[in-house]
């Protein structure tokens, strides 16, 4: 035995492995190789050291035998005489040696001469028992701490009251200020009271994730899915989820699918006081839903702001008010002296802000920790003050200055959570993002400028506006409160107390500020009736509802009666702007789905191009190949495609690639997710064939599939690991780390962020992991290849689709732009003159591509503006900050695009003068060319509309017939061919200008009482434009040919049937040769198709022979015509009527 002992070495891995076979077998509590097993051996080492130390000090040996005392006791506890720490452990372990002793596994040989001896086994057992006791204590300690913290929250006292109220009332309002714990506790109270199927909405996605994480931890379900979250692209919801955090928008979408919301028993709407558009609407919807669902429980949670409003809205619902937990905050009013007040055009004067920093440095010793949070209205203001503070900080070395706003990169935003080194304070300069969205601990000082920039919608100019306002008292208090979260604080208000008193009590709710298009569309699709009579908590002005309805009609989402069209009902289900949704639908018709998906996704997220790197020459050079002078959507498309390629080749290396180009990769991840969602949506509406064929994953052999499966398992593990270690310790900032955050260029380039590399890498890995889990990279690459290197034809078509989607968001370059400097290029929209291109747009740096080529004058007449190359810009946003800016623009050929997409086209008699949407005037020199172009456009549009309707109709049907699809595919190809030809090869010279106000007033001839235009005389054009009959336009005059085209209504027009306008014309398709008016000619052209092109029986109505045979399909096209000359009722098609009338005309002459 002795010799054996000498060979035993606790440090040898072999010896430990032998011990593992005794204690850590497959069936044991702790298995070899598990994390706990690793921890045990670490513990073992500590334990052995501790034991040796104790043995040496000899403490254990003193034994004074307390037997004398024990005899006196009334009760004998029967405790062992000698103390042993082991008696304090309530666990025992059955290990191999014990099993062997009990004879359970005697077949296992006992003669392991080199194995551990009884002493080693006993030593190890003791260590294991202590380890188990230690882990028990550790976990129980965590649990106790958690319960202690929960108990200490102000809301804890109201726990039973809340549950009671919810049990007895359909609606309960819980009002409590920051820190009272309502968001985390109320759902838990309900859970433990036995409610299940609870949903809790949040205005922000991040809050959904972080709350789900926190609450699942607190409700001891960290590793289960009892508590989950669901946001746009991500969900942790399973069938066992009982409490779900989700965004307001998502709950609304769920109501769209499930009218009574039967999947939930309880709905909690959190942060109702923020009054977001979705939230206000959600409350309205839930209010009417409560009538149908008497068992539904609704809880509104709010800050203690305007509580009565919510309670009253729900029939005096009971309110439970919970005090917040804030430390005292001293308020200092420090109004800015008049000479330091910023004038409108000037930069902000930094002196008032610097004085506060200085004051803090003088009054508070640096050892007393506490950071400063400074609220400014916008990014420009932030960079001005940041610059000044940075100079001060560099000088004093007592501050780290950090900006915080939404356009910063994620990594830069994250810095505000890091810790300043001792003796240094963070000075965080933020927009109102830090008022509610971002919570930073450790703030002791708040500086409040009292200003905020808010987005509002100007319905007159059809423009978003970002304007500066005074904040409300509620916001002011919210800002102040940020100073007292972790200890007593100070709030400096840069305005007078009298200003404060004059502030509005609450911020203006979003529903009063923004365009309501999406809201109205959603209301329509939810069948909520007339939006004007819907009971909102705080109804928006009727005019903004009306504006939205008009806009939706313009967009074709609503019909003239305000009902949802088929395209409208589809748009209502897409979680994007109407214009983007339209692009998707249009793209699905042609073979341009892939690029359209990308563009639509790219236009729906923030730009990936970081503003801060815009003036960095390295970034600009690296970005250059991505630029497209066709327009910003194409630059975005190129960028996305290039990124996907890099991802395919280099995986995680894409981060570096992005950084080189000043790209925020997070945005590209958002794009790829959104793109996927769009694709799924289109597919679920049968607008896209489901995946299959060659690229299907089943095509791979079994080995490949297994590989992919293992890979996925590995990725899932990585994601789990990441989630476990997430929320770890914060980094300590370096003094140099502040400063150039968003100011000077290149702050995020590699050399400067070297210190952050570890963190970056970790971030990168998890993003990459999630990306790989969600997307099949090779499939994505395939999709991207389709949209890379678009031919000029595809590009032209794609531009047209974007233009039709974005219509009526069009801008006309000013005629004098070619003589202006690049920076002074001016554009006009219908409702707003003198707008400029946002500096981030490709056209800001390359405006020449928009100019009309000088040598392209055609005839060198008096009018120099004649050209066949006029262009328009279709744009995504028009936003006024200090100037009205157009962003995300794409250029399109003016004449062709307008003819193909405009809602209102008016012409004179020979169609040489065209007024589009009442503000753009096009004049063509050659009447025959004008006619040709117009009639081609009309034909193309009719066909496009027909196919689009067929496509949408198909999407309604459960299963589209395969044959039908094949037909439409051929028709689609033909149409796109026609469109492309029209776009690229229409070489017509014309002038393009904006009408003056005076001109628009006297534009139309107005209704005419002449007998000539009585209905019997009016040619029937229903063949060309189904559903539309040419009839006199009651307002404009002339003939309304289609919903978008009115003929001969312009003031200078000549008479419709005036003989002088008839010109001899021979039809290329049939043998017709006669003098015709432009209208007659167009009409004939539309109904006369070249032989062999009669795909559909309906369209074959051009020959007289066919019409005479009275088949039922013909009869729909013929009508009874009473000829006064012959005095006879004739059954003729409209062409035939014209021909017939003409016979009499000639005979009369």
């Amino acid at each position: 035995m002795d010799s054996h002992r000498r060979t035993w070495d606790w440090d040898s891995s072999q010896c430990r492995a032998q011990m593992d076979q005794v204690f850590f077998r497959e069936q044991d509590y702790i298995q070899a190789g598990s994390p706990d097993h690793k921890e045990f051996w670490a513990f073992f080492d500590r334990f052995q050291r501790f034991k040796t130390k104790k043995d040496m000090s000899g403490v254990a040996k003193e034994d004074r035998g307390d037997g004398t005392d024990r005899k006196k006791a009334k009760v004998d506890l029967g405790l062992p005489k000698e103390y042993d720490a082991r008696y304090r452990i309530n666990v025992s372990v059955c290990s191999r040696d014990i099993e062997e002793r009990l004879g359970k596994s005697e077949h296992r040989g006992r003669q392991r001469s080199s194995g551990p001896g009884p002493q080693e086994i006993s030593d190890c057992r003791l260590a294991l028992l202590h380890f188990l006791d230690f882990t028990q204590r550790q976990s129980f300690g965590k649990l106790a701490k958690l319960r202690r913290e929960q108990k200490n929250l102000p809301i804890f006292q109201y726990r039973d009251r809340i549950v009671e109220l919810v049990r007895t009332h359909p609606v309960v309002v819980v009002a409590g200020d920051t820190g009272c714990g309502k968001s985390t506790q109320v759902p838990q109270y309900l859970l433990s009271a036995g409610f299940s199927y609870i949903s809790c909405t949040q205005p922000r996605r991040i809050a959904c994730i972080s709350l789900a994480k926190r609450v699942s931890f607190e409700s001891l379900n960290q590793y289960g899915s009892k508590v989950g979250y669901q946001i746009r692209f991500e969900t942790s919801r399973t069938t066992s989820t009982k409490l779900l955090f989700l965004t307001e928008g998502l709950l609304l979408r769920q109501i769209q699918q499930d009218k009574t919301l039967s999947q939930y028993q309880v709905v909690i709407v959190d942060e109702v006081h923020e009054r977001h558009l979705h939230c206000d609407f959600l409350l309205g919807v839930l209010r009417s839903l409560l009538a149908e669902r008497q068992d539904l429980r609704l809880i509104l949670m709010s800050a203690t702001i305007n509580i009565k409003l919510f309670s009253d809205y729900f029939g005096s619902a009971p309110v439970l008010q919970v005090p917040g937990r804030l430390f005292p905050i001293q308020v200092v009013y420090q109004p800015i002296p008049p000479d330091e007040q910023p004038s409108r055009s000037e930069k902000l004067d930094p002196r008032p802000y610097l004085r506060i920093l200085q004051g803090i440095d003088q009054r508070y010793p640096p050892e007393e920790r506490g950071d400063l949070l400074l609220f400014l209205s916008g990014m420009t203001e932030i960079s001005t003050i940041q610059e000044a503070c940075q100079v001060y900080a560099t000088h004093t070395r007592r501050w780290i200055v950090l900006p915080l706003h939404s356009t910063l990169s994620i990594a830069q935003q994250d810095k505000v959570f890091d810790i300043a080194p001792p003796g240094v304070r963070k000075c965080i300069i933020s927009t109102n993002i830090a008022e509610t969205s971002v919570t930073i601990d450790g703030v002791r000082f708040v500086v409040d400028s009292g200003k905020v920039k808010e987005m509002s919608f100007d319905p007159k100019a059809k423009m978003q506006r970002l304007q500066e306002f005074w904040i409300s008292r509620a916001s002011s208090e919210q800002r102040k409160g940020r100073a007292g979260r972790t200890g007593p604080g100070v709030c400096y208000r840069l305005y007078a107390e009298s200003d404060y008193d004059a502030f509005a009590p609450y911020p203006v709710p979003e529903i009063h500020r923004v365009a309501l298009d999406s809201l109205i569309l959603q209301m329509k699709s939810m069948c909520l009736g007339d939006p004007l009579s819907f009971i909102f908590i705080d109804p928006p002005p009727a005019s903004s509802i009306q504006t939205a309805v008009t806009y939706l009609k313009e967009q074709g989402a609503l019909d003239s009666r305000g009902e949802l069209t088929s395209i409208g009902s589809l748009l209502a289900q897409l979680p994007v702007d109407v214009v983007i949704g339209k692009m998707l639908v249009l793209g699905s018709l042609f073979h341009l789905v892939e690029p359209v998906l990308t563009v639509a996704a790219a236009l729906s997220v923030q730009s990936p191009f970081l503003r801060s790197t815009q003036h960095n020459p390295d970034c600009t050079t690296a970005r250059q190949p991505l630029h497209s002078n066709q327009g910003d959507p194409f630059t975005l498309l190129n960028t996305f495609n290039a990124w996907v390629e890099v991802k395919g080749e280099r995986g995680g290396g894409s981060r570096k690639w992005c950084r080189r180009r000043g790209l925020e990769e997070q945005r590209l991840y958002e794009m790829v997710n959104l793109r996927r969602q769009f694709k799924d949506l289109l597919r679920s509406h049968s607008l896209l064939e489901s995946e299959g064929g060659s690229s299907a994953p089943s095509a791979g052999d079994r080995g490949q599939r297994r590989e992919r499966l293992t890979e996925r398992r590995r990725l899932h593990q990585m994601k789990r690991d990441h989630e476990l270690q997430e929320g770890g310790k914060r980094k300590v900032l370096r003094l140099e780390e502040g400063g150039d955050g968003g100011l000077s260029s290149g702050s995020d380039t590699e050399d400067k962020s070297r210190g952050r590399k570890d963190k970056d890498r970790q971030n990168m890995d998890i993003q990459e992991v999630k990306f790989k889990l969600r997307h099949n990279v090779s499939q994505l690459q395939e999709a991207v290849t389709v949209s890379q290197d678009l031919s000029s034809r595809q590009q032209a078509l794609l531009k047209l689709l974007l233009c039709r989607g974005l219509y009526p968001q069009l801008a006309l370059p000013d005629e004098h732009n070619s003589t202006r400097k690049d920076s002074e290029q001016v554009f006009h929209t219908k409702n707003k003159q003198g707008v400029v291109i946002h500096p981030t747009s490709v056209f800001a740096s390359d405006p020449e591509v928009l100019h009309v080529p000088e040598d392209d004058g055609g005839e060198m007449g008096s009018d120099k503006r004649d050209s066949s190359r006029h262009q328009l810009l279709a744009f995504v946003t028009l936003l006024e900050t200090n100037k009205p800016y157009l962003s995300n623009c794409v250029r399109v050929p003016a004449l062709q695009a307008l003819l193909l997409v405009a809602n209102s086209m008016d012409t004179n008699a020979d169609c040489t003068r065209l007024v589009v949407d009442g503000w753009l005037e096009l004049e063509l020199r050659d009447p025959s060319e004008a006619l040709r172009v117009l009639s081609t456009a009309l034909k193309l549009r009719a066909e496009w509309e027909r196919l689009l309707l067929a496509q949408l109709g198909q999407s309604g049907a459960a299963e589209p017939a395969a044959a039908e699809q094949a037909v439409s595919r051929r028709a689609t190809e033909k149409l796109s061919e026609g469109l492309v030809r029209f776009l690229l090869y229409t070489e017509v010279s014309y002038s393009l200008r904006r009408l003056t106000a005076l001109q628009t007033q006297n534009l139309y001839v107005g209704p005419q009482a002449e007998s000539e235009s009585s209905s019997s005389e009016t040619p029937d054009l229903s063949v060309l434009f189904p559903g539309a009959q040419a009839k006199p336009d009651p307002i404009k005059g002339g003939l309304r040919v289609t919903s978008f085209f009115t003929y001969n209504c312009l003031m200078d027009s000549k008479d419709l049937y005036s003989e002088c306008l008839r010109t001899f014309w021979s039809c290329p398709n049939c043998d017709l040769y006669m003098p015709l008016t432009p209208l007659e000619r167009m009409h004939h052209e539309a109904s006369c198709r070249p032989a062999g092109e009669q795909q559909e029986s309906q369209d074959g109505a051009e020959s007289e022979k066919a019409s005479s045979s009275s088949s039922s399909s013909m009869s729909s096209l013929t009508r009874v015509y009473h000829c006064d000359v012959c005095n006879e009722d004739l059954k003729l098609t409209s062409t035939e009527i014209l021909k017939h009338k003409r016979q009499h005309m000639y005979t009369a002459k």
Partner: protein, 118 residues
């Protein structure tokens, strides 16, 4: 919705001294799914919520061997020394406990009173 009725309310353990309460899944000496583990007293056991592994258990508390009070395992509420004793009983019979434990408790008392003063 019949969803509510199908839910079995969880059994709750509550410490009669400090009020800590938490659901438990097992009461006894042999926590489920832990073959090699035997507890030396009847315990209220739950799954360890802080461990990702399903089989890891956590002892919440048990009953005092003298007065049958239901107590949690926090050192302020109970003590295990071959048996479970609630803190009340420990204090009542302090003399019978080995001096190591007595010293430890005295030290803790001192510390907590100091904390209360400051």
């Amino acid at each position: 919705m019949d969803q509510t009725t199908t839910e079995i309310p969880p059994k709750i353990f509550t410490c009669q001294l400090c009020g800590l309460s938490s659901p438990f899944v097992y009461y006894g000496q042999k926590p489920p799914n832990t073959r090699a583990i035997v507890l030396l007293e009847e315990c209220f056991v739950t799954k360890d919520p802080f461990s990702p592994e399903k089989e890891k258990f956590l002892v919440l508390g048990s009953t005092c061997s003298l007065c049958s009070l239901c107590v949690c395992v926090a050192s302020d509420c109970s003590l295990f020394y071959t048996k479970r004793f609630c803190m009340r009983c420990v204090n009542k019979h302090l003399d019978q406990f080995p001096h190591q434990i007595q010293a430890e408790l005295a030290k803790k008392k001192q510390q907590s009173s100091k904390a209360a003063v400051s």
